[in-house]
């Protein structure tokens, strides 16, 4: 049981390049989330999904896109990377219901130069 896995762990992009951050969970959770964490700050929600085929925007969605074709996978797409997207990105998953909690992946550290 690997939990939440993310790839890559580190990446450097040039301004204007695109990339996809991968996220997979093996806990059969319906809910999945993408957050970004800037230095000295808490996490901010980018996008989330409540099930395959259903996604919605969070607090800071501009410059990103997501898709959810399976329960397990929730990739995050960066189009036209900008320096403001330099951050650490965390994927999380959680079950439904009052007692659910979110489990976080190891993170992807992205630098845009």
């Amino acid at each position: 049981n690997a939990g939440v896995t993310q790839t890559p762990k580190f990446r450097i992009l040039k301004i204007g390049q695109s990339m996809t951050l991968q996220c997979t969970q093996d806990m059969n959770h319906n809910y999945m989330y993408w957050y970004r964490q800037d230095p000295g700050m808490g996490l901010k929600l980018i996008y989330y999904s409540v099930g395959a085929g259903i996604t919605d925007k969070g607090e800071v969605p501009n410059g990103y896109n997501v898709s959810r074709s399976t329960t397990e996978d929730f990739p995050l797409r960066l189009e036209l990377a900008a320096p403001s997207q330099t951050s650490v990105y965390f994927c999380a998953s959680g079950g439904q219901g009052t007692f659910s909690e979110q489990f976080f992946g190891p993170g992807t550290r992205l630098t845009v130069l």
Binding site: Y35, M41, G42, T98, F99, E101, Q102, F104, P106
Partner: protein
């Protein structure tokens, strides 16, 4: 939007001492979460507080929730070096969608 404020943001304390981290939030949040993050690592869930008056304890850490005051506290008892980390609180506005709003975190350093 739910605003979550933690204080202090930085805390340096001696081993053996007690201290409390405070987490205030702006609107209704029936659930309050505490996470721990070690440098360069992911977030580890510590506590999920589900109702007013909830208190949970694990080792030297105790968390409580007062929904009327919109306040949660994380109390550290007899601190040890291994507790050095950044601690985040987060609320979810009481919805079932699990959208979390995080505070900026409290960076705790415990020294001998």
């Amino acid at each position: 939007e739910l605003k979550v404020e933690q204080n202090p943001l930085f805390l340096s304390m001696q081993e053996g001492k007690n201290y409390t981290i405070y987490c205030n939030y702006s609107t209704t949040s029936d659930r309050l979460y505490w996470y721990r993050q070690d440098p360069g690592k992911s977030l580890e869930s510590l506590f999920v507080l589900l109702s007013n008056g909830a208190v949970k304890q694990e080792g030297r850490l105790m968390a409580s929730l007062d929904t009327k005051a919109r306040l949660s506290t994380l109390h550290i008892t007899a601190a040890v070096h291994d507790l050095s980390a950044t601690y985040f609180c987060a609320g979810d506005r009481g919805s079932t969608l699990g959208r979390l709003y995080f505070g900026r975190g409290t960076q705790l350093t415990v020294w001998p």
